[in-house]
């Protein structure tokens, strides 16, 4: 186990605060989404962003990459996008008059990969991302290539224009640590966005950290202590999403088809620790758990037909779970 000094923790808190402050300078509004994206990235997870086009998803990823000092690439998913277009491929090249295969890395070889409209690509292409997301490696032919660290996939989904799309299967959804809904900006936010983006003012985005620091933050955050009652609460919350669990509330039994996987609990605890750090705390609180349970569980709760007909959303289920599950037992 890695030992950290007290100064390391304080430095991490400083860095995290600086990242959040710097990103906020170049992003108008979306404060919750920004914070949750930062939390997820610092926890080392992938993010699924869902929202209408033009809400600044690409810009957010771009800004984050620059602020964190990370490389950034963007893939626009389309139905004819092939897996090799994502991962890269071996091409024949000539060196000293001899022909040979050389691996040409695809756009996935970047610290931050923005997979735009991921549900437009075929499942075959989508699954090309699976290995990259989970193992941070890419295998082409018989060679496995390691992806740069830290590595994050930020995928976007368009909730409308569902015709001709390939919805992500449950197993693939589970690989995303968070699923975030990007809301439409409010009046003042939209006004500021227009002002910022329709002038000739040159933006100067300062990098406040480096890939190495991000890796360190990821490690340090895992040291943040969590009291047993708080941990128990998180686990009870996840178990309560399972209709077959004897202690699950009525709402779960009525509307949930499948509950969250253990990855859901991992996501909650991992990101709750980052949230504690962002709040300048050295411990995880119940409030941290409650806060991160929405993005960590909403794509892991699969509703049944009754829920759809009664217009029940995963958020409503989570609301009820938070109300029903006691902090102390």
């Amino acid at each position: 186990m890695m030992e950290f000094e007290q100064a390391d923790f304080q430095k991490v808190i400083d860095t995290v605060s600086k990242i959040e402050a710097e990103v906020s300078k170049h992003m108008i509004g979306q404060k919750d989404v920004i914070r949750q994206v930062i939390m997820c990235m610092l926890a080392g997870g992938n993010i699924l962003l869902e929202g209408m086009p033009g809400l600044g998803k690409t810009r957010l990823v771009n800004v984050l990459g620059k602020v964190m000092g990370l490389s950034f690439s963007r893939i626009q998913f389309t139905p004819d996008l092939m897996p090799a277009d994502v991962t890269g491929t071996n091409i024949v090249s000539r060196k000293d008059g001899e022909g040979m295969f050389r691996f040409q890395p695809g756009p996935v070889f970047s610290n931050i990969v923005l997979s735009d409209e991921i549900n437009r690509a075929t499942p075959k292409t989508q699954s090309a991302l699976l290995q990259a997301m989970q193992e941070h490696t890419v295998t082409v032919a018989d060679t496995t290539h390691k992806l740069p660290e830290p590595f994050f996939v930020l995928a976007t989904q368009n909730p409308i224009e569902m015709e001709g799309t390939y919805p992500l299967p449950e197993a693939q959804m589970d690989r995303f640590l968070f699923k975030l809904d990007v809301p439409f900006p409010e009046f003042n936010e939209l006004k500021d966005i227009i002002k910022l983006t329709t002038t000739n003012v040159e933006e100067e985005i300062t990098a406040v950290s480096s890939p190495g620091e991000i890796k360190k933050i990821q490690k340090v955050s895992r040291e943040i202590p969590i009291a047993e009652p708080v941990l128990d609460y998180a686990i009870r919350l996840v178990l309560a999403t399972h209709p077959e669990d004897p202690d699950s509330p009525e709402v779960t039994r009525k509307y949930v088809r499948y509950g969250a996987s253990p990855r859901g609990a991992q996501a909650i605890i991992g990101t709750a620790r980052i949230r504690a750090l962002l709040s300048g705390r050295y411990n995880v609180s119940f409030d941290d758990i409650r806060n991160v349970s929405y993005p960590a569980l909403r794509h892991r709760i699969f509703l049944n037909f009754d829920a759809v007909s009664d217009e029940i959303t995963p958020e409503k289920i989570i609301d009820q779970l938070i109300e029903d599950v006691k902090t102390y037992q």
């Binding site: 030992e3 950290f4 000094e5 007290q6 390391d8 923790f9 304080q10 040291e223 943040i224 202590p225 969590i226 009291a227 047993e228 009652p229 708080v230 709040s279 705390r281 050295y282 411990n283 995880v284 609180s285 119940f286 409030d287 102390y328």
Partner: protein
Amino acid sequence: MDTRYIIRALRPLKRKIHFERAVKSVLYMLLAAGIAVLILAMVSLFAVVPFVRMKMLAILTIAFFAGIIAALFLVPSQNRVIITADSLGLEERVITTWYLKDDNSPVSMLQREDTIASLGGINLKKAYKFRISKELIVSVFVIIVAAFLVSFIPGKVADDTRLLESLITEMNKQEEMLEKELEKQMKAHQGMSVKQLEELKALLEKLKEEFDKAKTEEDALKALAQMENLLEKLKEQNPQQDLKALENMLAGSSLTESLGGALKNEDEEALKEALDRLKKELENMDNREELSELIKQAAQNMANNSMMAEALDKIASSASDGSLSGEEIAQSLKDLIEQAMENASGMQDFMQAAGNLGEAAKRAKLAIASVGRYIAQGRSSGNAQQGGQNQGSQSENKERQPGGQGQGGQSGDRNHGDQDTSQGQGGQNGSQGQGDQPGNQGQGGQSQGQGEDGGAGAGSGSTNEDAGYNEGDQPGSGRAPGDRKGNEYRSIYIPERLGGEGNESLISGQKLQSGSSTFIEADGAPVQKGVMLPWNEVLSEYREEAVQSMERQDIPAGLEMLVRDYFSSLE
């Protein structure tokens, strides 16, 4: 890790939580008690519950103190205090520190410092708000107030309750007075033997028991009357006379002559020698027969002293049937003589003390009877406002009542004064005969009653339906003392009501002079033949009827007491 700082910082919060729990505990106890007192108050509307408000107050007071006592055990645990502190904005800092108290890693140290800094920056006591629901407080208040308001709702039961409360108060007062009187008598008459003192104390204890059981004025008066009767009986005991009779009896036979002489001279040595000699003499069966006859004769001469007579009877039968040896008979005789001597020694004091106590009991009776009279006056004054015709009927009755009272009293007093040892409660029987219900002018039936102690009385009793008849003993021919048996009762004639077992019909309203009425004489009505029943089986019914009649009509207190005394003496 040194957790003292955290414990110290949490102490004010702990105290506040404890106080809150104490308040809640008291409130919940009061709520439960409030519901109980409300039920009690509602019950008191339909049933007589004396001192209901006092009881309600007592229940509430007990509940209050029970709540406080319970609060002593409701000290919040350290864990609960920590959880509460975290909920006040410390965001699980304290509980994390508590869980990491044995961990000295850098992050734990940082976390601890953060917790201490956070604890220093917050006033937990101030931040913690009491979580006592207003609904609970209002409920407790409303229920208790409602209970007390309900207890003030007037009605017949409330009147009865007031009467019983006055009665109980008076009983307690009289009980206290009698206790003081007894103490006074004990100081004034120190010559009483321990046994005599015990007898008086036992009487008072019995009175207390009866008072505790008493539900009505009748019961209380009955208890006092019984006490009076028992005191009379005690007074009637004459150990000196018994001793004298015993001396004479013993002196009258050559067998026990020396014993009689020793007893007369109160010579203990001689008594002992005489008893030793008697012991030897009694080995002869003829001597035993002779002694048995002597003792029987003596027992008959002690008619009014049940204990002595009974003891002598017992010795006599043992001597005649040979169930005891000569030595045992002599020993029994010795014990009896000693007992008689002891009783005789303090008899003068005892008689005076018993007499004074009897007087006090009489005063107590008057005081208790006055409670009933006071209430009855209140009721009759209330009735008087309802109609004049009714009043007229009452006053008509009143004119007749003093006659009955006077006759009863005279008869009772005379018999009491004249009675000898063979005429116990003749006077009381006589009063029964005269105490007929006014208005129930009888057909001239005769009744004869037998006193409890074998005395006789005679009086004219009647009912509207049948001529009364009591197949009693001849006046003056009381049974011999010692033959009495408590469970043998003479039968008396019980007439059946017209129509069999049906209840009396009562029509409410006022009798007016206007209007017309028709009377039809019906022939051949199904009048059933009465039966003969032991009198004890109908006593309670008769007593009840008498009490109800007294309640219905305005009877002078003296006469009421006379009737009560009569029934008390029978019981």
